[in-house]
Amino acid sequence: MSTTPLLQVRDITHYYGARIGCRDVSFDLYPGEVMGIVGESGSGKSTLLGCLAGQLAPDAGEVLFDTRSDGLRDTLKMSEPERRMLSRTDWAFVHQHARDGLRMGVSAGGNVGERLMAVGARHYGDIRDQAVDWLGRVEIPADRVDDRPTAFSGGMQQRLQIARNLVTGPRLVFMDEPTGGLDVSVQARLLDLLRGLVREMGLSAIIVTHDLAVVRLLADRLMVMKDGHVVETGLTDQVLDDPQHGYTQLLVSSVLQV
């Protein structure tokens, strides 16, 4: 693992009017590392993710990203074209609902190809070959390449969304409840797939979820949020096996045992 962090987050604070969205959140993310953020609904984890991914403007703080071309840059101070460029090359965002992250009126191949075309690919044959290759990697048969996502099951849509995001070889992936709304066997296969891709591509990822099993499987480190604050942080196994904060203890003990 490299010594320079890929992402340095400093005192990110976001208010919704007088209410706290998230407050004074700081952490470092190293290349190849997967960070989990857990907490109950309304704890500020999606707000935080939105601030990091440039979808919300935080009221205070810095998000420093180690860009390929000119090193460490504060993404919040970047111009919008620069930030958008970053978000379709080095970054990826996997939405909870595949519908938010896919173009439902465009074929699977077109969905995967969009990011390639957005960064300047203009050779149909190459784009299509890459699309088929990526569909294969997320276990979607090649003969479905011209079908629209509306004809796909929920799990397939989610896998298509992942393929669409990873096709440009991003270094940092933001995931908002990637397994939400899927049944457990589909969840398991998706997690397997994600784990494989993260290892194989050396991706860094920030995963927001309320499902502790997901972070147990995927995340190296864990951050627990409550009421907009980070209450506990540490290695995933350590936090889950030996929770220190009262809320984390409650969270861990609330998991249903089958």
Partner: protein, 293 residues
């Protein structure tokens, strides 16, 4: 004649439209919003083109109107009469004689010159509209030059039809900057947009947008390296005038499957026939094309 101000619109409105036109010419391909007026014709019948023409015309102008290439279709006839009555300008059907040409869905076959203005009627000025319904988002995409989505549409065409099936309103890039909808002209006409000596103005009345191409602007049709742009037309020669290089309409002549191909540009076709060119059906076909309207 005294009932109307020259060319129907009041002077303040024409100034407002001229300002939009000038801005459009200064930023080729950029859609300039303007306060489109109610015109005495329904939206979709060329209200944008009519307002641009009204703001462009001067009493010395000679005005021509074509609808899908033809001078004698309902839309063309009524707009020509409208300006005959409200502006009292001379009109013509000859492309070369006209100083202002309002067109719906065609560019004349006869090459235009530097002292001419071509005014297009535009139904939907936003080329990204069917890919991204939000105006706020499409404006942002234009300002940030995010045009990857336009190629997604062409990709979809090829994956479904084996070729770029978009045959009209084919998206173009203007001077390497703005992606523009050339109005629903057949893609056969796209090459004529580029490096054209005439001023080209586009008016969308319902959508309240004006955009423009100054003379000699570089206009490139979008495509893929392995599926290059192709200006297609019916693989036939005109049955009336024998022209092999003009855009053709297919006309059904009876219910036994009989059909002929004729130039969609009626002025061009007539000019060729008057010069003695003949197609295979020249004798028994009518000189005008009213029958196919």
């Amino acid at each position: 004649m005294t009932e109307y101000n020259f060319a129907y619109l009041d002077e303040q409105t024409k100034r407002m439209i001229r300002r939009a036109i000038l801005k459009g010419l200064a930023v080729p391909g950029y859609q300039v919003p303007f306060a489109s007026r109610e015109m005495p014709m329904p939206y979709g019948w060329g209200t944008g083109g009519v307002q641009v023409s009204a703001a462009t015309l001067v009493p010395e102008d000679r005005f021509k109107v074509i609808d899908q290439g033809a001078d004698d279709t309902t839309n063309a006839v009524s707009i020509r009469k409208f300006f005959e009555r409200t502006a009292g300008v001379a009109t013509t059907e000859h492309t070369a004689e006209a100083s202002v040409i309002q067109t719906r869905h065609r560019i004349p076959e006869t090459p235009l010159s530097e002292d001419q203005i071509l005014v297009y009627q535009v139904p939907i000025p936003e080329p990204l509209r069917f890919l991204e319904p939000r105006e706020t988002e499409t404006r942002k995409m234009h300002s940030l030059e995010e045009y990857g989505l336009m190629h997604v549409k062409l990709y979809e065409d090829i994956s479904q039809h084996g070729a770029i099936a978009t045959s009209y309103a084919y998206p173009v890039k203007v001077e390497g900057r703005y992606v523009m909808d050339p109005s629903p002209i057949p893609k056969f006409d796209n090459p004529k947009l580029s490096d054209c000596p005439a001023i080209q103005l586009f008016g969308a009345g319902r959508e309240q947008r004006i955009y423009a191409l100054p003379p000699y602007t570089r206009v490139i049709s979008l495509d893929f390296e392995d599926y290059p742009f192709e200006a297609s037309k019916a693989d036939h020669a005109c049955d009336l005038c024998g022209a092999g290089d003009s855009y053709l309409d297919e006309v059904i002549t009876d219910d036994q499957g009989g059909r002929i191909f004729v130039c969609s540009d009626t002025d061009y076709c007539r000019g060729r026939r008057e010069a003695g060119h003949q197609g295979t059906q020249a004798q028994d076909a009518p000189m005008t094309t009213e029958a196919r309207a």
